[in-house]
Amino acid sequence: MTQTEPGTGEIRLEIPAAPEYLRLARLAVADVGARAGWSYEDIDDLRIAVDELCYAIGAGAEHGRLTLCYQVTEQAIEVRGSGTDTTPLAAPGELARAIIAAVVDEFDLEVDERRFRFVKRA
């Protein structure tokens, strides 16, 4: 389910879009952060961002699949996510966006396209 693409260091994870699989998405980003030597608190932020953004593109539903790509660049971690046949439970409101904005340095969220991307710098 998880594979590292040789040469790029990118990790790609595909999971069912049900809440219990989100754990894998959080574990993966935590592992990427740990490998980069980040602090407990920054890793917690990464996990919150993954959680919130996956929910935003439909991770809470019972159908569909999510694909996440994790990439460590210089001094930053970038995560891209997309949903296939997912149904977001609710459009992310002001609060969800405020939460995401507080824990990452930049993010794009296209709910209609079931797509997100965020970057957090060390």
């Binding site: 407990y40 929910y55 019972e62 439970l89 409101g93 609060l95």
Partner: protein, 247 residues
Amino acid sequence: MTQSVETAMERFVRYRATGDPEVRDELVVEHLGLARALARRYSGRGEALDDLQQVATVGLLKAVERFDPDRGLSFTTFAVPTITGELKRHFRDKTWSTRVPRALQELALRLTDSVRELSQELGRSPSIAEIAERLEISEEMVLEAMEVSRSYTASSLDAPVDEESGTSRMDRVLGGDDAGYEAIDQQMTVDYLLSTLSERDRTIVTLRFFENLTQSEIAARVGISQMHVSRLLARALESLHGVIAES
């Protein structure tokens, strides 16, 4: 305030006054959609949706029984945490202890202590490697333990939020807009969402996400450990997800 909400409120007043079981049933039926929506939020976690809807309906019944229209809250504001609490308790009782190995549960508790100690010693948030070294376990185990300590089942909405007064979150939920849950979809505001949190959780969420303080800074300001802040944030976010999903 919409006409239907007014009607519901009047009915609650009547139920409080008369205790008429017919009125109670009407109120329950009227809000079944809310219970179902919240049950759906917790489906896909190994429990049948039917069972969850029953659990949510029990929560709804409790909410109808306990709701006091004179306190100025909307019923939804009051009922969401009550129903969510019932669902969480169901999961905690039914699934957590059997699914998470005991050793990992204990490790999660040790993680809490070591993060607190290391944060104090280092004056910053420790790295995973530092935590692993302190606990004499692999980094992988630290990450696993982080997952467990943040598990949604580890939090309880009914747990006292104020150790001194012993009042529970449910007792302390404050009123937001007096909107029916049908209307929340369009009207949910940050204020409304924050109003569903306890005062302490709301303070922490505000400091973290609106004033952009770090967990350590919040810990220092509020006078609790950083790990505690982390847990409270996790719990608050989980609770907010419940409210958002319900819309």
